[in-house]
């Protein structure tokens, strides 16, 4: 840890001085906390209907108004955050696991293993993945876990390329050669020696994958192929908002605003993290 601490403490120092990134990070933390605490802080249940009230504009009782069924919009956005963020993190996790293992194995073993594995990645890059996710959703039904898996299985390609590139640089360095000479097994080589040294780029790319994943989920939900009612994500809220935007524009504007701000925050934080961990790229 002592060897790494200078890199990480340097990075943290640079990150804290980047105002845009810190603001993004702050918004994210606030969002995650309010999503976790949704059952306690949401003023109403996400399914509570006040049919007599119907759609009402923002008021003291319903800060962001209510939808056609008289459901409190603020509460629905808070509960929607749980689904949207969960998809973002879990699917990114799936992509990380596949991409990192694929990249490490290809980079470390090199030679024929590498060329076959990377050729597969090249071919997959050329495929219309969005269509495949839709296909999977159609065939197997819109199951939340399938959604995680399908999106994760789409997003790992770039990660595997990044990791492979890093591992190829690392594997000829003395400490790796020394570990090899001492007879360290492949698995602990990956875990103890390679992985800790490529955490930086992995962390950066992961933060930038989360918004992409959330976009994909809301895209599917918007088309009616993702999250199904009564569950709601930000994508389904925007879809509902679009359907009634002529009379009740707040139903589109607030979920849309929340989603956009979140994407901004993630992108700024990701960019900041990249600059902090790799000062060379800052100029571009």
């Amino acid at each position: 840890m002592s060897k790494n601490s200078s890199l990480w403490s340097d990075a943290i120092y640079r990150l804290t001085r980047n105002k845009a990134a810190m603001m993004g990070g702050g918004i994210l933390v606030a969002l995650i906390i309010s999503a976790l605490l949704a059952p306690w802080i949401a003023p109403y249940s996400y399914s509570y209907q006040d049919l007599d009230l119907g759609a009402s504009p923002p008021s003291a009782e319903h800060l962001l108004g209510t939808d056609i069924l008289g459901r409190d919009l603020l509460s629905r956005i808070l509960y929607g955050a749980r689904v949207s963020l969960l998809v973002g993190f879990v699917a990114t996790g799936v992509a990380l696991v596949i991409g990192v293992s694929w990249g490490i194995i290809a980079g470390y073993f090199g030679g024929r293993v590498d060329s076959v594995m990377m050729r597969i990645v090249d071919i997959l890059y050329g495929l219309p993945f969005i269509i495949f996710v839709i296909l999977l959703m159609v065939i197997f039904g819109s199951n939340l876990w399938l959604l995680f898996g399908a999106i994760g299985a789409v997003e790992w390609l770039t990660m595997s390329r990044i990791v492979r590139g890093q591992v190829i640089v690392l594997k000829n360095q003395e400490f790796v050669l020394a570990a090899k000479a001492m007879g360290v097994s492949n698995f602990s080589m990956f875990k103890r020696h390679l992985l800790p040294n490529i955490l930086g780029p992995i962390a950066v790319y992961a933060t930038l994958t989360i918004p992409a994943v959330m976009l994909l989920e809301s895209f599917l939900s918007f088309l009616g192929l993702g999250i199904q009612p009564p569950m709601s994500s930000w994508g389904t809220l925007i879809k509902d908002g679009v359907e009634s935007m002529e009379e009740f524009s707040w139903l589109l504007i607030y979920p849309g605003l929340t989603f956009t701000i979140t994407l901004f925050a993630l992108n700024f934080f990701g960019d900041g993290l990249r600059d902090a961990l790799d000062p060379k790229t800052t100029d571009n």
Partner: protein, 306 residues
């Protein structure tokens, strides 16, 4: 050079075959048959239907039959709209989607390159900051939000432009094209800014300036050729993205294009339609990826070695 071209083209064929095969068998995995309609059908009718649609043959036979058809441009019948073939639906939707995509990419290229190049030349001035801030918005606001917002502002509040349709009212093509093109304009602006900045610092630009060329010539003749390579490589993946965008835009604006057919087929579980359009889309994407690959190879001789 020619060898690389041929190699890339040949690589596309197994990819397409794999996609078609995978899609075909995935669709076969789907639960329920095409005729599990609301009303139960008598066994005799079902048997006849299966015979008509060749569903009683073995899987392998169905597969080879289908693939032979596809090669000849026949994607089979639609299961949800009796009497219409998938090929018919593709050929009725394709021109519309194609036109939409062309307008979008045109908007994206013109706005994106102009603002990107300008931002690079006027680095760290308002002409750099403002377009790049707008580009950030274009990247963060998803199409399915941008479209409805534009409709809300220009269609409903200001009543300037039609809110839906394609080719029926004057000006109804404007909002869909902008909606689809905006995000790409943003990406292209960022890419061309980055590419230009990298090139503008290089020696050959200094040489061009030193030999007395006008700034205009330096930028257009020398800098842009290298600085816009990232844009060219981006165009292939952008076509794939445009396709996904057309699903959303055609749904929002109720445009009878290929994207809307695909989404409807997915929601209705019209399996043959999904199968046909998936193969068709894949072929298009592979084709455009190939095209942009070849174009960037041609523009950038250095990448030929790798």
């Amino acid at each position: 050079m020619l060898a690389i071209f041929i190699k890339r083209v040949l690589m596309a064929i197994p990819v397409l075959l794999a996609v078609a095969t995978m899609t075909f068998f995935l669709i076969k995995l789907a639960p329920g048959g095409p005729f599990d309609a609301e009303k139960a059908v008598s066994p005799q009718v079902l048997k006849n239907l299966n015979a008509v649609y060749n569903l009683d043959a073995s899987q392998w036979e169905q597969y080879t039959d289908y693939m032979t058809g596809v090669v000849q441009g026949d994607f089979g019948p639609s299961f949800k709209y009796p009497g219409r073939s998938v090929t018919e639906m593709i050929s009725s939707g394709l021109p519309i989607t194609f036109e939409l995509a062309m307008y979008a990419i045109l908007i994206a290229l013109v706005i994106g390159i102009l603002s990107g190049v300008l931002a690079a030349l006027k680095r760290n001035t308002m002409l750099d900051f403002i377009p790049m801030a707008i580009a950030m918005i274009g990247i963060c606001v998803p199409t399915f939000l941008m479209g409805p917002l534009l409709v809300l502002i220009f269609g409903i509040q200001l009543e300037l432009l039609p809110v839906a349709g394609w080719g029926q009212l004057s000006g109804d093509k404007i909002l869909p094209s902008i909606t689809l093109g905006f995000a790409y304009a943003a990406y292209i602006a960022r890419l061309s800014r980055g590419g230009m900045l990298e090139v503008l610092n290089q020696d050959f630009i200094r040489t061009a300036r030193a030999k007395g060329l006008t700034e205009r010539m330096v930028v257009i003749k020398h800098a842009m050729q290298g600085g816009l390579i990232p844009v060219v490589s981006f165009l292939g993946p952008a076509i794939a993205g445009l396709l996904a965008g057309s699903f959303v835009v055609e749904t929002i604006f109720q445009i009878p294009g290929l994207g809307r057919f695909y989404v409807e087929a997915a929601l209705n579980r019209d399996y043959t339609m999904i199968l046909g359009t998936t193969i068709f889309f894949s072929a298009m994407i592979v084709f455009f990826n190939l095209l942009s690959d070849l174009a960037s190879l041609w523009l950038n001789p250095r990448s030929r070695d790798v």
